[in-house]
Symmetry: C2
Subunit: 209 residues, 2 copies
């Protein structure tokens, strides 16, 4: 059976730290493009995407709509009913690709985890989700490794910059323009974003509004 | 024969973007601790470290001292004499470990490259260095991939956050305190650095001066 890939997603007013370069409507389109990239990647490795969205979205993929945005509560309430292996992957990882996800799914341990920048958790793969519980926010990477250990689950940290790079801030757009290949990169280019180099440091600028 | 691992290093007044939290003497000790971590990692995968330093340093490892700090010129002048495979790895990658470096060295292509954050090049491994030339600074990752292609060299991008994470700014210290295991992490802890969580975001603070 294909593992389910749960993808937490916020369609309305997402990515506020990008407000300096994108208006709300653009941030919403951009977040959706990133979600589409993540969905493509998980489908490529034969996972079934399940979008956990804070609003009902127009999509052919399976979705769970949660009014309350507490991700931990939502996931922890789903896990007891989960049958088989599951993947949880954030919607703001547009560099996710089949090769990196294959490394996650190939783990021989009970859990594979990919840290995000700043101690977050970008991807978790669980063979026995019933034995785990989620504690996102803050240094969730360290918390999740400990939760696994306390539950007697072995874990592996997957060393991937593609899955490590969550897109939150203007500087992160550099990574997408350099390494991205999907819809979210195309959307940025459509908006006029290009790489800029100033005093040897690489940034992004928007050529037109 | 063990590949040589060239490690560019600046011992005097390095890492100026860390001046907000470290004085010059501390930045110098910290840069040295990071260098030691990189040297340990390359030795673990049976490479012979060659430190390319802008000053003579007290070290038992082989070093090349270059008065002029132009890294491209230095490396490009060394390559014609290089015999065998070589690795170039930056000195500010204290999360480098044997597992990530093994993936670099295991490439079946002519070149393996690891991008740094912001389009830089953190690691290059070349089987035939004579056919390559270096063009660091700016979006060097894109330039190096193109240089390889133009020279008819096949290349592979190694997807590693440990080798992707160069330590330049205060925020980067979070990664070292979470994922580091070597001397540079110990040095930060010795100075009193700890993780701090504010409004869900993880940073570092210095508990004592």
């Amino acid at each position: 059976m294909c593992p389910h890939a749960f993808i937490p997603y916020k369609p309305v007013n997402p990515k506020t730290r990008l407000s300096c370069v994108l208006c709300q409507e653009e941030r919403e389109s951009f977040a959706r493009a990133m979600l589409e990239d993540v969905i493509s990647a998980v489908k490529e490795v034969n996972c079934s995407p399940v979008v956990i969205s804070t609003e009902l979205i127009d999509s052919e993929d399976v979705q769970i709509t949660v009014k309350d945005a507490d991700l931990n509560q939502t996931l922890n309430s789903l896990m007891p009913e989960a049958s088989g292996k599951i993947l949880i992957i954030m919607a703001d990882l547009p560099l996710a690709d089949a090769a990196s996800l294959k490394r996650v799914l190939a783990t021989e341990k009970d859990m594979a985890i990919v840290p995000g920048r700043g101690g977050g958790t970008n991807v978790i793969y669980l063979k026995e989700p019933q034995r785990f519980h989620f504690d996102y926010y803050g240094t969730s990477f360290l918390k999740h490794v400990k939760i696994a250990g306390d539950a007697g689950l072995s874990s592996e940290v997957i060393d991937s910059f593609r899955l490590h790079t969550d897109i939150d801030e203007k500087e992160d757009l550099v990574e997408l323009l350099i390494h991205g290949t999907g819809k979210s990169r195309a959307y940025l280019e459509e908006l006029g974003f290009v790489l800029s180099v100033e005093k040897g440091r690489v940034g992004v600028e928007r050529k037109r509004q």
